[in-house]
């Protein structure tokens, strides 16, 4: 670790912690950013990067620790306070208003006006100057933002930051939506900013980008700082990956039962393609087998699961369950064929939150308990209660609204739903997201049990060790393509990240 003390740092973060409803997102983060540098923050999904950014942007308030700005301890109460200090943030999902023009977006919230009338020409002139500074003098201030490409929207977002007097700009994975040429321009803009003395906090998954523009790196893992202010030039890639992946908390995986050699293929995916999302995906899953899709967010993993399930309609390719080809883009048919999905966003896609546990458990199968269209809630409750006991779902009250349950127990509802319905193929998207470490072990045991019962299981997770620990076979995915298919025992986390990062760069 290199520390040079010539200038007092612009921003110092010491021991910041933050918990949300019992989930500890930040467990002690340190950061030191100097004026005019590009400071990269590296970390896996769930490492706490987003929470850290939002803490600096005034969206979240830290539970503990301090933030020192220009030598003074500050409290960033809200986003306006952050802007007033000179901290601007460019979020991944850009916060521009599509219906307004570029100039209107840039001065949104601090409109130039005199006596209540907006000064449109003045705003346009200033906008032109800002765009020119960002190397986009060709854009007209009067263009509607909704008509711009993602790259140009990013420019607008950046111009908006610069319209305030800022000293630090935080960029959350700005290159994720850009093509190679646009990334080049982004880097050009970044160096423009730093030469004007503005500090850039740059968040990315892509190591080669850090090599190109980064000055120093801080690494986060599980909400903790693993390293602060490493010099980009002096730190080998392998050391960075080790810092990112070294596990503080051991994941607990149940023992794998080998899939019998004569086990039949249950799920057959052939040449599945959806333009711009994923391309030519083929694999098969046998009864009792767990196949894991490993890849970064945005690699197309979730979309592949949704296409298999019929929730998205692929352009090409076929999905067959037990030899019978499913109708493309029909969830109803997939469910009837015995396919179950536990979706990525449990709350918005999985549960009817106001409804009680038992109705959520039987959401796919309540018609089966009905006679002539009339529900049999007593049987539904009894069936749900069986699952509650079998899965250790807490609280064990079938009438409790799903809303009041923890993430782990909500996940158990979704698994119980498919246990009650009966499946041959189970698609699990991020089954442990938002689930605390203790409850994860339960989920892992359940997934194994479901496989052992003869299900073909496909699992997607941002946590590579989870994929490796659960799956029998791993598909490494980047940019919607399957880079490699191999037994989970033949690859480790390091290897997967290596493949993914090379694949993304290509």
């Amino acid at each position: 670790m290199i520390k040079v003390d010539h200038d007092p740092p612009l921003l110092t973060v010491r021991g910041v912690t933050k918990a949300f409803a019992g989930v500890q997102a930040l467990r002690g983060v340190d950061l030191e950013v100097r004026a005019g540098e590009v400071h990269c923050i590296l970390g896996q999904n769930g490492a706490g990067k987003s929470t850290l950014i939002k803490t600096l942007a005034g969206v979240h308030r830290p539970d503990d620790g301090e933030i020192v700005w220009n030598g003074e301890v500050v409290e960033i109460a809200d986003p306006e306070a952050a802007i007033a200090l000179g901290i601007a943030t460019m979020y991944q999902e850009l916060d521009v208003v599509d219906g307004l023009t570029i100039a209107e977006n840039i001065f949104l919230g601090h409109e130039l006006s005199r006596g209540g009338f907006s000064r449109r020409s003045e705003a346009a002139a200033q906008t032109r100057a800002l765009l020119k500074r960002l190397g986009h003098g060709n854009l007209s201030p009067h263009t509607e933002v909704g008509r711009l490409s993602a790259a140009n929207k990013q420019i607008v977002s950046m111009a908006r930051a610069l319209s305030h007097d800022i000293k630090l700009i935080i960029m959350d994975e700005p290159s994720a939506v850009l093509d190679t040429e646009e990334v080049k321009n982004l880097f050009h803009v970044v160096s423009e900013l730093t030469s004007a003395g503005i500090a850039v906090v740059y968040i990315t998954h892509r190591l080669e980008e850090i090599r190109q523009i980064g000055d120093r790196i801080s690494v986060l893992k599980d909400g903790r700082s693993m390293a602060t202010g490493l010099s980009v030039a002096d730190t080998p890639t392998s050391e960075l990956i080790t810092l990112m992946t070294g596990r503080a908390v051991e994941n607990v995986f149940p023992p794998a039962t080998p899939v019998p050699a004569d086990s039949p293929v249950v799920l057959q995916v052939q040449n599945l393609s959806l333009t711009g999302v994923f391309d030519d995906v083929s694999f098969s899953v046998r009864a009792g087998e767990i196949v894991g899709l490993a890849g970064l967010v945005g690699s197309g993993r979730s979309e592949i699961l949704e296409a298999i399930y019929g929730a998205r309609r692929p352009q090409n390719g076929s999905v067959a369950v037990g030899g019978a080809t499913l109708r493309r883009g029909s969830v109803v048919k997939a469910v009837a064929a015995g396919v179950g999905l536990s979706p990525e966003e449990r709350k918005s896609q999985g549960l009817v939150l106001d409804e009680p546990i038992f109705k959520n458990v039987t959401l796919s199968s309540f018609a089966r308990f009905a006679k002539a269209g009339f529900l049999d809630e007593r049987r539904e409750r009894a069936v749900a209660r069986e699952q509650i006991d079998a899965l250790g779902l807490r609280p064990p009250d079938p009438d409790r609204p799903a809303l009041t349950l923890s993430g782990g127990n909500q996940q158990k509802i979704l698994l119980a739903r498919w246990l009650v319905h009966g499946t041959r193929v189970l698609l699990l998207d991020e089954p442990t997201r938002g689930v605390d470490v203790g409850a994860r072990a339960d989920i892992y045991v359940l997934i194994r049990r479901l496989a052992a019962a003869g299900n073909a299981v496909v699992i997607v997770s941002s946590e590579i060790p989870e994929v490796l620990g659960l799956a029998d076979t791993v598909l490494v995915i980047a940019d919607g393509r399957v880079l490699n298919t191999l037994p989970a025992s033949e690859i480790d986390e390091h290897g997967v990240l290596d493949l993914v990062m090379k694949g993304t760069a290509a």
């Binding site: 051991e250 994941n251 607990v252 995986f253 149940p254 023992p255 399930y309 929730a311 969830v331 109803v332 469910v335 009837a336 999905l341 979706p343 918005s348 896609q349 999985g350 549960l351 009817v352 939150l353 106001d354 409804e355 009680p356 109705k359 959401l363 796919s364 309540f366 018609a367 009905a370 269209g373 009339f374 529900l375 509650i388 006991d389 250790g392 779902l393 807490r394 609280p395 064990p396 009250d397 409790r400 609204p401 809303l403 009041t404 782990g408 127990n409 158990k412 739903r417 605390d436 203790g438 409850a439 072990a441 339960d442 045991v445 060790p465 490796l468 620990g469 989970a488 025992s489 480790d492």
Partner: protein
């Protein structure tokens, strides 16, 4: 993987064996969570209005005859509101109900004066009115579910078109119905209670059963509560939404039959602005405009509150303008109270 620890202790609190069940509800809480308690605010509001009526209008207000008048006046809009309740719980809205009542009344009257109907039974007229209602509802449903048109716009278009079509068919005249059999049946009473009130009661009970006891109702609440979750659970959301609007059309058709019985005439102006009365009754009855939660019982109370209020005003010779202002105030107060007290744990009964 070999280097992963393979400890499978279920040590977490999540996995602990079931402990003591959740705390027993106290008697008071049980009353509050019962069907009466959940509508307690509505019961109180209705009682207050009744009290005001009894004080200001005395015996004329509290007479059996007056109670029956209130119920009779509530019955037709009440039937429409039952269908509207299902639509709103599913997360939609149906602005076309009033216009569909007008259209169905005109078409049915016209059908009734045809010679061959004269010689058949008046039940044919009922079937025609209901068919027109269901047909219009199905069109709404198909346009909304499969055409992906926002419910507000699709049913607004139906409102305008159905009203226009009714005017064309009726040629802007009031068509008089002369089928004595039908008129006698609709104006008969059973044990002293009007036929219209019985029909309302029947539709309300059917609506309650449909919402609370059938797979149809379960799907409706699930779709209104979280449409994406319902879809991903394997529910055919589009088909279901289509049928929900068909049911709203069905209740509009039944309402058309009722108003034909009461006025013995079909006209394109029947049901004007009923969509707003129905929506007001549903929302005042505690159904969330956003969908996912609502009750038939609440809607019945909502309808009764407005009709009783109406009656109190008439008894006191107050103008309908004053009444409209009071109605507006009630709607706002009801929605404010809903926001204040609506708890996420609440459920439809």
């Amino acid at each position: 993987m070999s280097e992963q620890t393979t400890r499978v202790e279920t040590a977490s609190a999540d996995a602990a064996p079931p402990g003591p069940p959740a705390e027993k509800k106290s008697g008071f809480r049980r009353i509050l969570s019962g069907p009466v308690g959940r509508n307690l605010g509505l019961v109180i509001a209705l009682l207050l209005i009744v009290l005001v009526g009894a004080i200001t209008a005395g015996d004329t207000f509290t007479s059996i005859n007056n109670v029956l008048t209130i119920l009779r006046q509530a019955s037709i809009i009440g039937v429409v509101s039952i269908g509207m309740t299902l639509v709103i719980i599913s997360g939609g809205i149906d602005l076309s109900v009033g216009a569909v009542v007008g259209l169905a009344s005109v078409v049915a009257t016209l059908a009734a004066v045809q010679d061959f109907v004269d010689q058949t039974h008046w039940i044919f007229l009922v079937i025609v009115a209901i068919a027109v209602g269901v047909g219009a509802g199905l069109i709404n449903g198909i346009v909304i579910a499969y055409g992906k048109v926002v419910a507000f716009m699709a049913t607004l278009a139906m409102l305008v078109a159905a009203r226009g079509l009714a005017e064309i068919i009726a040629n802007r005249r009031t068509l008089v119905l002369e089928d004595r059999g039908f008129i006698n049946f609709m104006n008969a009473d059973i044990i002293g209670v009007d036929m219209l009130i019985w029909i309302f009661a029947l539709v309300a009970v059917a609506g309650w059963l449909l919402l609370n006891r059938t797979t149809f109702g379960r799907r409706t609440v699930a779709i209104g509560g979280n449409r994406e979750a319902a879809r991903l659970a394997g529910i055919d959301v589009k088909r279901h939404i289509m049928w929900i609007y068909a049911i709203s059309g069905l209740t509009a058709g039944i309402a058309a039959v009722m108003i034909l019985g009461r006025t013995t005439a079909g006209t394109s102006t029947h049901g004007t602005l009923w969509e707003l009365d129905a929506i007001a009754a549903v929302v005042v009855g505690g159904t969330l405009l956003a969908g996912g939660r609502g009750t038939i019982t609440g809607t019945v109370f909502g309808v009764l509150i407005f009709q009783t209020l109406n009656n109190v005003f008439v008894q006191n010779n107050l103008s309908s303008s004053v009444q409209a202002v009071a109605k507006g105030v009630i709607i706002v107060v009801a929605v404010l109270l809903q926001q204040r007290f609506a708890k996420p744990t609440g459920r439809g009964d």
